[in-house]
């Protein structure tokens, strides 16, 4: 991978553990909201102690066995579909996503006014022009 720091991040266990913690936390919160459960009812539904529920909801620390994570996922109406992706294809996927992304910041009010004025004009092409601080037009490749 060209971006060595990003490669190092992806190779740390905590990056993925935090991801799993996040999936489970989000799924539990959504399930509680959907079914109007409080922590006591949730603990009884999941078959874990109230203390454990507090640990998940307050600290976001799951620290369960794989078996327990799968059981909890199923109980909150989610299939825990794990996926193994080769590092090479993951790096390639990230790099291709990054190459496709262009970030443009613009003034939304001016753009909205411009669209309102030109709304009925037939348009085939949108041309982007960039200017430097001296109002000289810059080339965009």
């Amino acid at each position: 991978m060209k971006n060595k720091n990003r490669e190092m991040i992806l190779n740390q266990p905590s990056y993925w553990i935090e991801g799993v913690n996040g999936f489970l936390y989000e799924a539990i919160l959504n399930y509680m909201k959907k079914h109007g459960l409080n922590r006591t009812k949730l603990a009884s539904h999941l078959g874990i102690s109230k203390g454990r529920v507090s640990q998940i909801l307050n600290d976001g620390e799951i620290n369960f066995s794989i078996e327990k994570i799968i059981e909890i996922s199923l109980k909150v109406d989610m299939f825990p579909a794990f996926e193994f992706i080769s590092k090479d294809s993951y790096y390639k996927k990230e790099e291709s996503l990054e190459n496709k992304t262009i970030s443009i910041n613009f003034n939304a009010n001016s753009f909205s006014n411009f669209l309102e004025k030109n709304v009925k004009k037939p348009t085939k092409n949108i041309i982007f022009k960039a200017y430097n601080e001296y109002s000289h037009q810059l080339a965009i490749n």
Binding site: R6, S14, Y15, E18, G22, D59
Partner: protein, 130 residues
């Protein structure tokens, strides 16, 4: 010439729903300097990767408990300032309207109070310069 600038983060994937930037001082990303220090030491890189994942997920509008991602209160700046936490590592960022999340820098749990003060000062300088 302006001292501060923003670059798209090289540490967080740039396809998040809210874009993540890093604050640069004299063209050098403050967070990259912190990352390189942690990388040199080696022991806390795993925690740092965890904190980066939290920044990534919360920028994708996923929730995290306050123990992992909290808003820093008690300041007079006109922006929301956040702290992402994993083990001993902290990452400080703020939300800039029309731009996205801006990572200021990182820090260690032991220096939390000093780091928060320093982060507030940096954000104030950045905003005053605009």
């Amino acid at each position: 010439m302006k001292k501060y600038s923003l670059i798209l983060s090289q540490h967080v994937i740039n396809t998040t729903k809210i874009k993540v930037y890093e604050l640069c001082k004299n063209d050098k990303s403050l967070f990259e300097l912190f990352f390189n220090e942690i990388k040199k030491d080696g022991n806390l890189l795993n925690n740092l990767a965890g904190a980066i994942r939290i920044v990534e997920d919360t920028s994708n509008l996923n929730r995290r408990p306050k123990a992992k991602f909290r808003e820093i209160q008690g300041h007079k700046l006109k922006c929301k300032i956040y702290e992402a936490k994993s083990g001993l590592i902290r990452i400080y960022l703020f939300h800039e309207e029309k731009t996205g999340r801006v990572i200021v820098t990182g820090g260690l749990k032991d220096n939390q109070n000093v780091n928060v003060k320093s982060v507030l000062k940096i954000i104030k300088e950045y905003q005053n310069e605009k």
